[in-house]
């Protein structure tokens, strides 16, 4: 019986009071050592309250300078039901000459229940701060005292570089092909249209007038981007104003071609072929930009 009573009292002692305003309170802190000047130290405070009790966020420390060496960078409060999660992010600006124990100051969080005010003390937290420099400056040592860390060993990336190069090459080829398909290269080809036409005209005689006319027609069609007819010359000049200076020769060419191909009884003479070659040469000069 005695044992039973002892157990019952012990259990009673363990259980909290039902009227306790704060049902759960915990301060989660990181390791208390290994910090250097400029490090940030996070601290999480979890408070669970009974219903009707609210946290007075004004009682939390304000963002900014706490003391000479401590800053509070961020304060966030998240409320989920009756649970408050308070995240504080401190930053230390202290350059100790030796390992030094410092204290994050505690504070009192206020909770209110109607008109009543309840306090919850957040305890101070102690940690150690290490120096960044050596304690003794070695004057005798040659060279610079301050030295960088040794560089880390790089991972082997040769294979990745090869892969990247191959991919870029393939991408460039595809881009070039697409540009070709979309017609981004015609200007390049258009600069040699009459050069090719002149080369083809070179071996032709008066008897090959049909072929000669067709060659010049093809060159003009390619330059125009679509078949060019006599009645479309004004539009052609608007697109290619540099050819306006040979308009009389182009007029002659189209008139001659129309008579040759579409009317009967046309007699060709050697001079016509020469005139055709002259036209082509002037067009060549224009496409080279030398006229």
């Amino acid at each position: 019986m005695k044992i039973v009573l002892i157990l019952a009292f012990s259990l009673l002692g363990c259980s909290g009071s039902i009227d306790e305003p704060i049902s759960y309170f915990n301060v989660e802190t990181p390791r208390p050592f290994g910090y250097v000047n400029g490090d940030e130290i996070p601290q999480r405070i979890i408070i669970e309250t009974r219903s009707g009790i609210t946290l007075q966020t004004g009682s939390l420390p304000a963002k900014g300078q706490i003391n000479r060496w401590l800053n509070l960078n961020e304060v966030t409060v998240k409320q989920t039901g009756q649970q408050y999660v308070i995240d504080l992010r401190y930053q230390v600006f202290y350059a100790p000459l030796e390992v030094k124990s410092l204290i994050l100051p505690g504070f009192t969080a206020q909770l209110s229940h109607g008109e009543k005010s309840i306090s919850q003390n957040i305890p101070a937290w102690s940690f150690t701060l290490s120096p960044l420099r050596e304690l003794v400056v070695r004057q005798t040592e040659q060279g610079e005292y301050m030295r960088p860390d040794s560089p880390p060993i790089l991972l082997a990336n040769t294979l990745a570089m090869y892969g990247l190069s191959a991919s870029l090459a393939v991408a460039a080829l595809i881009a070039a092909y697409l540009s070709f398909l979309y017609g981004f290269f015609p200007n390049r080809l258009r600069r040699t249209l009459f050069k090719q036409a002149l080369r083809k005209l070179a071996g032709l005689s008066k008897a090959d007038m049909e072929q000669a006319l067709t060659i010049v027609h093809h060159a003009l069609n390619n330059l125009n981007g679509q078949p060019l007819f006599y009645n479309q010359l004004s539009r052609f000049y608007r697109r290619n104003p540099e050819y306006l200076q040979i308009s009389s020769q182009l007029d002659w060419f189209f008139n001659y071609s129309n008579r040759y191909f579409f009317s009967a009884g046309m007699i060709t003479v050697t001079q016509d072929l020469q005139q055709l070659t002259d036209l082509c040469e002037r067009c060549r000069k224009i496409e080279r930009g030398s006229l």
Binding site: E210, L213, T214, H217, H218, N221, Q226, P227, F229, Y230, N231, S257, N258, F261, F262, S263, A264, G265, I267
Partner: protein, 421 residues
């Protein structure tokens, strides 16, 4: 007009005929003068010799030229005289046609391209379908053309209850109360019917279209157990593109019988619009039409068109060009034509028909004639291609709802892709 028939060449062609005559003439003169010389005057001999030598030389020279030109141009001098008269006739007719066109353009202003196309259709003897918005001058234009051409004119309004019989006859009670049957618009003028104007054709039922189909294609209909012929008939029809309710789309066969479908758009120039709004001359259409001079040329048009079609030349290269255009209306994808968001092989259900292409060539020849040429150029075909072809191309139902956009693009694409030579 005809490059081979210009005046210097004409002289050369006629020389062989003159040569034969002149040789006889010189011979006779020589004999005659020989007698005179021997009897009377010895001083005349050198003059006579010189005359004869000169005459022979000139005729010889002309003969050489004549032979040369005959060889080159391959024209028989005996056909030349006929050609000369035809040529003069065609030139006179062209002047009349251009004068007529000018007159219509003064009556219906701002529609020059449409007027030119109608003139082409009239002189190529093809039927015309006009399409356009309401009140843009379709009917006025056609009335002006009919008035200017002369000939017997009839018109009928398309309505949903119009039946084929309404075109052939109508019944009524006369003054004595007796039922009478009189010929309808088609038969009223018999074989002298010239211009038949079908207003709002798409409001008429397919039965009416079917009757019209024969009248247009064969220029004849069957009624009262006999055939009636209309050798001069030219059908002008119009439809407005705004309303589609209670209308019947023309069947493909009927559309194909029209040489051209001409779109009449509202004039865009401000001066023309201003004129149409404020000039009272354009407010009274009847008076405006009465102002068109009746040239009374209509009944000679068939003969003229026949002559014109025979005389205007088409070269093998032009045949190739026209053939390529035709093929491109069937398989545009083979000629590099690509339209946005269109699967080109599936675009067309039917391309141009042989009848359509023959109409195209007729219209192109007429244009070449109006442009003072004796041969057709690709630009003639290009000028009439849209009006002759657009209504003959039938799109796949999948694309039919975009036809207003796709057909002009397709026509433009064909003309831009096919080269000649």
């Amino acid at each position: 007009m005809h490059s081979n028939l210009s005046s210097p060449w004409v002289c050369l062609y006629l020389m062989p005929i003159f040569l034969c005559a002149s040789l006889t003439d010189v011979h006779e003169r020589h004999e005659k003068h020989e007698k005179v010389y021997s009897k009377n005057n010895s001083g005349l001999k050198p003059r006579l010799v010189a005359e004869n030598v000169l005459t022979h030389f000139i005729y010889l020279l002309f003969s050489c030229f004549s032979c040369l030109s005959w060889t080159v141009h391959n024209i028989n001098p005996t056909t030349l005289i006929f050609r000369m008269s035809t040529d003069t006739q065609l030139t006179d007719w062209r002047d009349k046609a251009l004068q007529f066109e000018q007159q219509i353009n003064q009556t219906v202003i701002g529609l020059q391209p449409a007027v030119r196309n109608i003139i082409l259709a009239v002189f190529a003897r093809g039927h015309v379908l006009l399409e356009g918005n309401v009140g843009v001058g379709k009917t006025t234009l056609l009335r002006a053309v009919a008035q200017g051409l002369g000939g017997d004119y009839q018109r009928i309004e398309g309505t949903i209850d119009l039946m084929p019989a309404d075109l052939i006859y109508y019944t009524y009670l006369n003054d004595q109360g007796r039922p009478c049957v009189d010929p309808g618009p088609l038969l009223k003028h018999g074989d002298t019917l010239a211009t038949f104007f079908f207003n709002e054709i798409n409001r008429a039922r397919p039965q009416v279209h079917a009757l019209l189909l024969r009248a247009m294609a064969e220029r004849s209909i069957n009624a009262f157990n006999r055939d009636y012929y209309f050798p001069h008939i030219q059908v002008f029809a119009d439809r407005n593109r705004v309303e589609k309710e209670e209308t019947f789309e023309l069947p493909a066969a009927a559309k194909d019988r029209f040489m051209m479908e001409i779109n009449i758009d509202m004039p865009s120039a401000d001066t023309v619009l201003d004129e149409l709004m404020f000039n009272p001359r354009f407010h009274d259409t009847d008076q405006l039409i009465r102002g068109v001079t009746n040239s009374d040329i209509y009944y000679q048009l068939n003969e003229l068109a026949q002559t014109l079609q025979q005389l205007i030349q088409t070269s093998p290269k032009l045949h190739t060009y026209a053939l390529t255009l035709w093929k491109a209306t069937h398989q545009p994808q083979l000629y590099g034509i690509q339209l946005a968001d269109v699967e080109m092989p599936q675009l067309l259900m039917a391309g141009a028909s042989p009848r359509g292409m023959s109409y195209l060539i007729r219209a192109a020849k007429t244009r070449a004639w109006l442009e003072r040429r004796d041969h057709v150029l690709p630009e003639d075909l290009q000028a009439v291609f849209p009006v002759c072809m657009t209504h003959r191309l039938f799109l796949n139902p999948m694309y039919a709802y975009r036809k207003e956009q796709l057909l002009p693009e397709l026509i433009k694409g064909i003309l831009n892709q096919v080269a000649a030579p």
